[in-house]
Subunit: 322 residues, 2 copies
């Protein structure tokens, strides 16, 4: 009987959980509606019931629980649940620990994904790397000496909000020119609209309204050779490459890993990012630092990341007891 | 008899060493000409002779040796001695370890200073901080969980070469717009010359050639109310504040410490840096993060930093033996 941990992906609408072995095999999966519970204690009770109901199918003892949550804080074990009626910030780790006498660990989803890559994915051979998640926004997890950097308050690794241009694009954070306003699905769209304004080249993208245009359509246009779409990807890779060169000057990682939907654009983004990263890298560092796509199966990545949090905690706890 | 470590500040012209207690008291000091040895083995022999000659005055057993060197690499124990006839890169830790059966540790001077601040200076209460050294250039040491971040190759923490403006000022590294071309004694002078070109305001700084102008003269002019000098400090603080806000988004430190000659300009630089740092900080973080001047006595800082490297290694070694 191989032990498992429970990985919990706490989403605003759906909670997904799975029982995961140390080698990353998912033995059991379950989902439920995050909003079906009346309040936070009810949610924790439901989560526990789901775990108990699955016990027989897990094929091993549950030795830990890991939780990945959008505004999860590893330092305090808390979740800031803005879209749920949980009354603001809740201490998830404390609440779960009242139900389970096993290690419980929690972090934000980008940090969980970073650990997932380290245990099960593209970073298995690395102890120092940077993970970038590309979706509507840009998230990041910075790993040093095999540990996610949490900083003084659990809030380290917010590379989506490093500054590209202090007089640049409005950001949801209230400032201007943050990296995620350039490098993300939404940033890519903004870049397309910029180049539609600058260039006279014909482009299929001139047919779309701002609200209608998606990253997928931009990818398809680029693949078909659309000059505006291609320039938008090149620009996105330039901005990302430059900021990754700066990130290297902070923590000198062995590799950089790109995760997420925009990264799913594949070589359209990877090629210019790698090219500009090499161009902008300080001479001290390896100019051919590996820039790798995620190696986690996309649909299971969040559960695997959460499970990785649990496995790391389980192994640390075991180590400190010996 | 209180134990001591030997802190060695390996400079291009002068080597300074001292015997330092765990509380930072310097019991004995010595200097010699780094270039007087014919080669690297001769240098190591001379260093050992100096240490032996001082034994009686150290008032305690020597339990470790730490070395701070401009291009020292903590990961490999090496020094890249460009200005010495040591035949390129030498393994300093290995060579010293053949003479001494005690822990030997080595790092670059900015990282050594960071540890010096943590053990003896302004960072005594911090486990997560960023140290910036301001001199002719800009150096940095990033501390996470009480350890200097070395990265995959010992080369982490080169914040002097993060990018301010990719089309900006020529940098000695061969690229353009690196932070140290703006924020350093030399960067301040370049900024003065920029504003002399932009403004029509009278300024005493219009009397100086580029080669004649020093940071001290700019400080004196600013203190006397010179508008160009004041604008240059404000601009320098703006650039530094912005990049420190980005550094916070990487590792979320408890504090930032400024060390060095330009920081000696005191409030002229600290005030605008703190103001812009607060303005540019992502809302998640403490906008009033402490921005502190070094608390190491300037003339002893390098020896204390090197001694801090030794003490950290000594304590880790002791911990791993128990």
């Amino acid at each position: 009987m191989e032990n498992v941990v429970i990985g919990v992906d706490l989403g605003g609408t759906t909670t997904t959980l799975g029982a995961v072995t140390r080698s990353g095999e998912i033995r059991w999966r379950q989902t439920f509606d995050t909003r079906s519970a009346a309040d936070f204690p009810a949610y924790i009770r439901q989560l526990s019931r789901e775990i108990e109901a699955g016990r027989d199918q897990m094929g091993g003892e549950v030795v830990g629980i890991g939780v990945g949550a959008p505004a999860g804080n590893n330092r305090y074990g808390t979740v800031q649940a803005a879209n749920l009626n949980w009354g603001g910030r809740v201490n998830f780790v404390e609440a779960l620990s009242q139900h389970y006498d096993i290690p419980v660990s929690l972090d934000n989803d980008a940090n969980a994904t970073a650990l997932g890559e380290m245990l099960f994915g593209a970073a298995r051979s690395f102890r120092h790397f940077v993970l970038i998640t590309l979706g509507t926004g840009l998230g990041s997890g910075i790993v040093v000496n095999g540990e996610v950097v949490s900083g003084s308050d659990g809030l380290a690794g917010e590379m989506g909000h490093i500054c590209v241009d202090i007089d640049g694009r409005d950001c949801a954070c209230g400032r201007k020119g943050c990296l995620e306003t350039y490098v993300s699905a939404n940033g890519l769209k903004r870049t397309v609209f910029h180049f539609l304004s600058q260039r006279t080249a014909p482009s299929v993208l001139r047919e779309y309204s701002y609200n209608a245009l998606t990253a997928r359509q931009i990818s398809e246009a680029a693949t078909a050779g659309d000059p505006v779409a291609l320039e938008a990807f090149d620009y996105t890779g330039r901005v990302l490459g430059l900021k990754l060169a700066d990130a290297v000057a902070h923590t000198s990682p062995e590799a950089i890993i790109l995760f997420g939907g925009l990264a799913g654009a594949g070589q359209l983004l990877m090629e210019p990012t790698a090219r500009y990263l090499k161009q902008y890298m300080l001479f001290l560092y390896n100019p051919d630092i590996p820039l790798l796509p995620s190696a986690l199966p996309h649909s299971d990545a969040a559960v695997l990341g959460a499970a990785a949090l649990a496995w790391q905690k389980v192994e640390k706890t075991a180590h400190s007891l010996t």
